[in-house]
Structure formats: structure tokens, C-alpha cells
Symmetry: C2
Subunit: 436 residues, 2 copies
Amino acid sequence: MEPKDKSKFPLVVIAGGGFGGMQVARKLKDMPVDVLMLDKHNYHTFQPLLYQVAIGSLEADSIAFSLRKNFAGQKNFHFRNTEITKVNPEKNTVDTTIGEISYDYLVIATGSTTNFFGNKDVEHFAMPMKSIPEALNLRSLILQNIEEAVLLNTKQEREPYLNFVLVGAGPTGVELAGALAELRNHILARDYPELQKEHMKVYLVDFMPKVLGAMSAQASHAAKEFLKGLGVEVLVSEKVESYDGNEIKFEDGKSIRTKNVIWSAGVMGVVPKGLSKDIIERGNRIRTDGICRVEGSSNIFAIGDVAAMITRDTPKGHPGVAQVAIQQGNYIAKTLMQLINGEPTEPFKYFDKGSLATIGRNKAVADLGKLKFQGFFAWLIWMFVHLVSLLGFRNKIVVFINWTLSYLTYNGGARLIIRRFVQEAVPEGHSPEGDG
Amino acid sequence: MEPKDKSKFPLVVIAGGGFGGMQVARKLKDMPVDVLMLDKHNYHTFQPLLYQVAIGSLEADSIAFSLRKNFAGQKNFHFRNTEITKVNPEKNTVDTTIGEISYDYLVIATGSTTNFFGNKDVEHFAMPMKSIPEALNLRSLILQNIEEAVLLNTKQEREPYLNFVLVGAGPTGVELAGALAELRNHILARDYPELQKEHMKVYLVDFMPKVLGAMSAQASHAAKEFLKGLGVEVLVSEKVESYDGNEIKFEDGKSIRTKNVIWSAGVMGVVPKGLSKDIIERGNRIRTDGICRVEGSSNIFAIGDVAAMITRDTPKGHPGVAQVAIQQGNYIAKTLMQLINGEPTEPFKYFDKGSLATIGRNKAVADLGKLKFQGFFAWLIWMFVHLVSLLGFRNKIVVFINWTLSYLTYNGGARLIIRRFVQEAVPEGHSPEGDG
């Protein structure tokens, strides 16, 4: 059933139901356009809380929200559970897993995925955490490896199962490190009487000289102190050389025996085929002009993590954060209507609302414009911001209850191994010893 | 790490953390025994609400509870996340996926799995719903098939994707039929504007002449009326002949084109290898004497769905319901201590507390001893009983909130396709046309 039937309105195809795509569709409500959203998942993922799914503190369903349910009742909205495989700008169509779809306007909001920077060994053996299935795999792996450790008799044998190495000390790495340290400090010995807290180690590694490199010096310093206080070993200016599933090696010769490497050291845009390679910027992002329009096109736009708006003011584009995607989503909905109506447009301006990161119970760091503060109040702000941003009334209550109980009992989270994680076999012609 | 180290107490190995196994471990708290529970899952599953996971009304984590977390603090309790592969009664050991484990007393509480009665075609193509992964697979399949239907243009093409055939009209089938009918009546056209309620059909099939055959005539009659009121087509005295993934055929020549066959027509015990075939009763259950002791053994016991206590009073054993497992769990903990202490034992007596089944909003049937009633009050009782039985304070609240919101909005449930369900290829040498 072709959703454009009988309508004479222009069709806006939105590729991706993340923060950006959602916002475009929402703002086009009641406008004289038809909206068709395509996403390979039938839900929106609230990525900032993925790490709490990975650690078993929140169930997946609380940070996901059905895209159909969210837009039920928006008359000009249609959804297809599919993935764009190719854009055909000359025909104004996209190829998808369910066939070719025509558009009048295309908004590419496909987001980003984990960037392993070409290191095939790391890509094969380390765990990414950019989607709900990936977070659930990680949850299973963490719990399976603790179960394995219970069966082993010596420190030497147990070590690789209980060493957790998080590569990338951005907000994701920092928050996951804090959560793992809380698991170690409060839950490990209680749930696994065979083990002691000292058996488990959490390492946070970055090749840059500080944690939370994108935040202020105060935030970075405080975060590092908070992490140390929780017992996390912070290793900065440390570049990963290889990982074979058993031992991670760094360029300076250091190494850690571990079965748990979690990679949040970089992202890259998810760019559909069919676009000129000349317009792909660093980080696999699509170059756009100041009104989010893909260079060389009149009716294709790109927003959020997959876009690099290269202008005099933003020579490197914008940071890959939810706020940029949301603001560009709002902006492009307005600008599209202006273009359709032949009205003048104004260039996009990003308003930086600031950054937050939490590090375990009671502690967070906040850079809100000139206001920079760390500690308990920042933690309250962090919780408030995440709760109100979460989609769906049910999700807000359920997350609030989970957090409250975790706070009161020091023992939140279900920690279930629903589907066992099984490492895929090493691809043929690929040396597990690592040369990449 | 062998949990029996340093202890001189007898070791009670409990195979399975279901309703029965949990109860044994709980009642052995503070007793002079060591308890080792083995389960292939690291959580207890509240099976009565599995159908709500399958329909997308409840998240999996709400009806599961970590076994380690539940017994954290019980000093004589240890857990291993493994499966028994074989019992070696002559050596007093069990083989498991993590090696051989010795026991002084063994309680087999491994429960039951879906019984396809030898029909390999049905087993391959129909969906079982006895575990959380199975319920999640079913959830994905239901949602994927509705998404498929959206893409098709004719009634003829859509039909198999939107026909739901539930085989087995016990409580599971009846409750799932009610929930699917509610989805059809209140959610389908809202979430999928391309579809109308009339496009979807729910069939409930049983080879017996009535639904809820194990309950009273009043309950059975009322349930059938409730189901009809919701638009469910009830087909009784209808025996399945074959199912090839596209069409289900019955022995009387009737057939239904469907991609969705959910099988809850029977269960069979999950019996580990190593026991004599002579003691396996109908339904693959282990024959025990009146004190739950496996026939021919002095220190192996079986309780719950996997057991058939064959005595003069119970020539066919007990029904496969949670109450039997719970009461036998309680009983065997007490009886084990009596045996260990050389005290006299008393035979097990089952106290039938009655049965409940719900059929959509506001409606349920209840047989509580001589008290038999149907409708709204039965529905309140059903909810109350399930809420208080659910393990964990968090789970109780989260389920309560989900139910309240679903009740108020007619639109509960997240309905996420987290992992796509992919039908496995037909095994070699197996004809999908079906001869079994």
C-alpha cells in the first residue's frame, strides 16, 4: 500500500527514527506534506541510557519507544520497518529492503555506528554499544563472564573474565565505567558469594590525555577523581594496538588480559550508497550547506550524526550529540516548508545547551554554558534531564522507579541472561593474532 | 570453586529454578544442608504471564527474576548457570555443561517443555511459548507479520500474515487469544493506519469439545462467550493434521492460511538422561512414590511438571500447574530434613486452591473450590493473585503500572521488534509438506 495514494501533497521521506528523524516528523504534523519514515527498527532508541541496559539496570523496553505508537494519530505520518540501501538522486528514489520508494524530499537522519578505525581484530572481538541489541549482547557477555569466573579456582584463571576494559573516555565510557564500578562495589560479592570485589577490575582507557575531552577542564578533572574514588583505573594517553579476545595490547607495550573489551572510542556516520564520495567528510559524514542540504542536491537533506554542516562558522561540522540532531530536526521541518512555499530560508544556528555526564551514585559533572559544577546537584540535574527527555509516560515512570529502588537498595537491576552471547567465529583469511 | 568445600553438611542439588525448585531452596534456608541450584537460565520465569510478553504488553524483565539476586544472603545457597545433561544414580553425580557435580540428595525440578506429539512439521513451523526467549521470538514474529501485511495490497495476500491460530485452549491459549483480540480491537488500526480491524482474525483451536477443559463447565462456557464477544473464532473438536508454515490443515478437511500458529496444546517433562525408561510415565514425567521420591532411588526426588506421583489417590499424577510445584517444593524441603534426621515422613497431599483464567479487559473465570464465578470480580482476583505471586517488589510495581496504563489508555505495551525472528531452514531429509 503506497502511502502517497490519493494525496497531492509532496512526500517527505525521513530515513531514520532517531532524535533527528523523530523531530522532523513531529514538526511536520498538520503541515501540507506527507511524511514517510523508514527505520530498520520499529522503535526509537534513547541512546544516552543504553549503558544502563548493558549493565542490567534498566530493561530494554524502557529506553525504546514504538515509532508507530508515538505517531499514531498523526494523519500525515506513515512508517515502514525497513532500511535504505541506496539513494538514487537522479530518479528521486531510494532503494530499500522492501523495494524502491519515491520521494519529493529526502531527509537522511541515519545516525552513526561504532568506528573501529579499520582495526579488524578489535572490531571482531570488542563489544560495541550503539543499539539495543548490542547493549543486550554486552549485558549477556558481562554476566556470562562473571558466571565463568565463579567456576575457576585461581586468580590467574579468573582474571581475564573479571577485567573490564572500556576504550574511549567520552560520556558513554565514563558512565559505563561508573556503573560497572558500582556493580563491583555493591553487588558482586552479594550475588556471587564465591567472588570478592577485589577480583574485578574496571579500566577506562583513552588515547587522549584526559577523560571527557569534549567537556571543560573542571568537568574532566572531577570526573577522573570520581572514577578513581569508585576504584576505576583510568589510563589516558594510551593507544590500543591490538585485541585478540584474550589480551588487549597498547602501543607503549602495556597489556591487560581480558575477555571484556567495550569499545566506545569513536563513531562514524551510517551513509547510504549512491551519494558522491566527494561529499563524505571525516567520520563518514555527509557534507551539507548551512541549511542542512546535501551538497550538490536540491531536495536531499542530512541531519544529526550522519551530517557535517561545513560552513565558515563550523569548519568541522557540529558535535555528534542528541541536541544537534534535535535542533536540526526542528530546523529542517521549518526550512522544508519554507522551500516548498518558495519563502526565504535562514541558516541553521546551533544553540549549545551544555553537557552532562554521571559517574555512579550521587555524582555527575555539568557544563551548562558558563555554569560548570560537579557532584550531587549535577547528578540531580542529570537525572531530571534524562527522565524528561525519555519518550513515553510509562517509560518515565518505570525508569524513575528503577532508579529510586536502585538508589535505596544499592541493588537495582534484573541482570538477566535472556539470550546468551556467542562470539562469532573469526572470518576466514583473518588472523586472530592481529596485524591491523 | 566447589561450593561444598569445608562444609560437612549434606549437599542438596536442585535441578531447576522454577516454581518448585525455588521453593525447595527457600525452605532449606538456615537448615543444616548445603543447597546448590542448577539452571540453564540465571533467572526464574513467571510463566503465567509469558503470554503478555509475547503480545508486547509486558517487558521480559518484569516476569523474570535473577536467581542469584533472589537468594543473595542465603548462606547455604549456591548457584550454577548450567544444565544437567545426565544423572548417574550409581555414583550420586550429575553430568552438566560445566562438568560432573556430586550430590547427596538430588531434586529434579526441571519442569516441562512444549509437546508437539511427534508432529515434526508442526514442531518446525509452529511457535512454542514456554520460555522468555520463545515469548520474545513470538512477539517479534507477530509484529513482523503485521509489518509485512502493511506492504501488501490485497486481502488475499494479507490474509496469512493476519490470521492468528492458537492451538490448545487451556489457560495459555485462552489468555493469549484474549490479548490478541484486544490488540486487534483497540490497537491495530491506530498503529497501522493502512490496516483495519477486520483484516485480522484470531482462531482458538482445541481437539477437545470445549475450552478450558480442566475447569468447570460454567468457567468453560463463560470463557467461550467472552472470547466470542471479543471476536475470537473458537474451533473445538478440531484436530490438527499438518502445518507447513503457510496453511494449517485439520483432520476434518478444514484449513486456515496463516503464518502465525502458536502451539500450546500440550507439555512434556524435561527429563535428564540416565534414568530408567521404566519409570517414565505419560507426558514424559518421572514416576515418584507418595513422598516425591523417584522410583527405585533412595536420594533422588522429582517435583512439579516433570514428576508424576502415582499413588492410589492419584493414579495419573497431579496436574501440571504452579501450585503443585510450589506445594511439592515446600513438602520436599520438609521431608528431606526428616529423612536426613531419620524421622518419619508423611505422604504429600495436594491442596487445590483453584484455577483462574483471564479473557481480555474486565473478564476472567474463577473456580475456587465450590465458588465458581465469572466476569469483572474474577478479573480483579486474577490480577491480584498474579501481582502478589510475582517475584520482586520492582516487578510488582512495574507490572502494576503497565496494567494500569493499559487499562486507562487501551494502548499498553511497547511492541518492539528487538531481535528479528528468523525461521530456521527446514532440516534435511524433512518434508515440509508434512507426513507426520
